[in-house]
Amino acid sequence: MERNNNTVAALEALLFYYGEPLDAKKIAKFLDVSEGECGILINELDSKLNSDEKSGFMLVRHGDLFQLATKPDLAWLGQKLVQEEFKEELTPATLETLSIIAYLGPVARSTVDYIRGVNSSFILRALLVRGLVTRHFQEARKNMFEYKVSFNFLKHLGLGKIEELPEFEKYKNILTSFEASQVPENPLPENQENPV
C-alpha cells in the first residue's frame, strides 16, 4: 500500500476519524512526519477548509490542540440534530444508564457496560450531546474517561448535590459492591475509549 504520509488528506482523515482534539506532537507521530512538516500541513489544511465554501467544517485550534469542527454558521445543525434525534422523554435503556452514572459516578464506561451487560457507547454519546452527563479523564488512568451527571441536569432535577438523590447511599453501595466483587476478575475486554 502506498503511504502518502505527507499529504494533507492524511491529516484531514486523522482528525476526522479521531474526533477528539489532538496535539501537534501526536499528529506528527501518527503521520510519521517532523514537527516542522506537521506545522506546514496544519496550515495547509486550515486554508483549504476556509477557502472551500462547499466545506462544512474547519480546523479549530485550542492552544496546542487541533480538532475538526463544523463551521460556526452551521451551528444550527447541531441544535436541530439534538432535537430531531432525541425524544423528549428518555427511553428505558437511557434512563437505566443515566441512573447508574448518577448513583455510581464518576464512573468508567467499562463499568457501566459491565453492570448493564450491553455496550453503552451510543447511549453515553447521546447523554453527552444532550448535556445530561459530562466526562473527563480519570486521575489514575489518563486514557480512560469517567462520566458523571452534569451540573445542569442536577439543577434541573432540583438537587443541590448528587447525594440528595432518593436512597443515594443504598444504591451507591449495592452498585459499588457489585463493581468491586465482579470487575477485578472480569474477563471481559476493557473497552478503551480512545485508542491512543
Binding site: 482523515a13 476526522f16 476519524y17 474526533g19 480538532q67 475538526l68 469542527a69 463544523t70 447541531g78 441544535q79 440534530l81 439534538v82 432535537q83 434525534e85 432525541f86 423528549e88 422523554e89 428518555l90 428505558p92 434512563l95 437505566e96 443515566l98 441512573s99 447508574i100 448518577a102 448513583y103 453492570i115 448493564r116 451487560g117 457507547s121 451510543f122 454519546r125 447521546a126 453527552l128 450531546v129 444532550r130 448535556g131 445530561l132 459530562t134 452534569s150 445542569n152 441536569f153 434541573h156 432535577l157 432540583g158 438537587l159 440528595e164 438523590l165 432518593p166 436512597e167 444504591y171 449495592i174 452498585l175 457489585f178 476478575e185 474477563p187 471481559l188
Partner: protein
C-alpha cells in the same frame, strides 16, 4: 474460575462429541453416539476433577443424559422409550450435524475478521458540543426507580447458578445413596429404578456410571439382552 475462562479452556459437549466421532472416522449416527459414550464420560470426569464451574457441568450433564438413553437402548433394545425420548435421541443426532456445518460457517467469519477494513467512519455524534436538552418529567424519583430496576436485574442474572449447583449436589447425593444401598449381592438395575420417574432414572444411571468408573461397584450383563446386575465390589484386603 470464571465461566468464560473455563469456556475457552475446555470444549463444549457437542464439540467434544463431534471430535470423538471424527476421531473414529464415523458418520454422525445413533450407533456412533453409543460408541463414544465412554469417551464422553471420561472427559466429563476430567472436567469434574479440574473443578470446572457448575454451569459448565450442567451443560455436559444434559448431553450425558441423552447419551445414556442412547447407550441403554443399544445395550437393551427391549427398553421401551417414550416418543419424547425417541425425539431426544434423533434431536442429538441432528444437532451434531448442524454443529458440524456451523464449524464450516465459522471459517468464513474468521477469514473476514482477519482482513483489516479499508475505510473508517466516525462514531455516532462524535463532535459533541453539548446542547442541554433535559427530559421534562424526570425527577430524582425517576432515577431511583431506574436504579432499583438495575439492581433487580443484576440479582436475577446472578441467581440461576445456585439452581444448577443444586442439581449437581443432587447427583452427588444419589451416588452416595446408591453406594449405601448396594451390597455385595448383585441386584438388577430394573429393580433399582422400579416406580421411579424418568429423570430419576437418568440420575441413577449417571450415578452408577460414576461408581463403575471409580471402581467401587461392578456391573454385569450375562447376555446382550439380559438384565444388568449391579453389585458393590468386595473390599480389598
Amino acid at each position: 474460575m470464571s465461566y468464560e475462562l473455563n469456556l475457552e479452556q475446555y470444549q463444549g459437549p457437542l464439540q467434544k462429541l463431534l471430535e470423538l466421532i471424527e476421531e473414529k472416522k464415523m458418520e454422525i449416527m445413533v450407533v456412533s453416539l453409543a460408541e463414544v459414550t465412554g469417551g464422553f464420560f471420561d472427559y466429563l470426569k476430567k472436567l469434574e476433577k479440574a473443578g470446572v464451574s457448575h454451569s459448565i457441568l450442567a451443560d455436559f450433564l444434559v448431553v450425558a443424559s441423552k447419551l445414556i438413553l442412547i447407550k441403554s437402548k443399544v445395550l437393551l433394545p427391549s427398553l421401551p422409550l417414550t416418543d419424547e425420548e425417541e425425539l431426544d435421541i434423533r434431536g442429538l443426532e441432528g444437532r451434531l450435524k448442524i454443529y458440524q456445518e456451523f464449524k464450516k460457517a465459522q471459517l468464513h467469519v474468521k477469514e473476514l475478521w482477519k482482513v483489516s477494513p479499508q475505510m473508517f467512519s466516525r462514531e455516532y455524534l462524535m463532535t459533541k458540543e453539548a446542547t442541554f436538552y433535559p427530559p421534562k418529567s424526570a425527577t430524582g424519583e425517576t432515577l431511583a426507580k431506574a436504579a432499583a430496576g438495575v439492581v433487580g436485574k443484576l440479582e436475577k442474572f446472578l441467581k440461576p447458578i445456585v439452581k444448577v449447583k443444586n442439581e449437581i449436589i443432587h447427583l452427588k447425593q444419589k451416588i452416595e445413596e446408591i453406594f449405601r444401598r448396594l451390597t455385595e449381592i448383585p441386584i438388577g438395575f430394573k429393580k433399582m429404578h422400579e416406580g421411579k420417574g424418568r429423570s430419576e432414572l437418568i440420575v441413577l444411571f449417571l450415578a452408577i456410571l460414576h461408581l463403575i468408573r471409580d471402581q467401587l461397584i461392578s456391573a454385569d450383563q450375562e447376555a446382550q439382552f439380559d438384565e444388568i446386575t449391579i453389585a458393590r465390589k468386595p473390599k480389598e484386603a
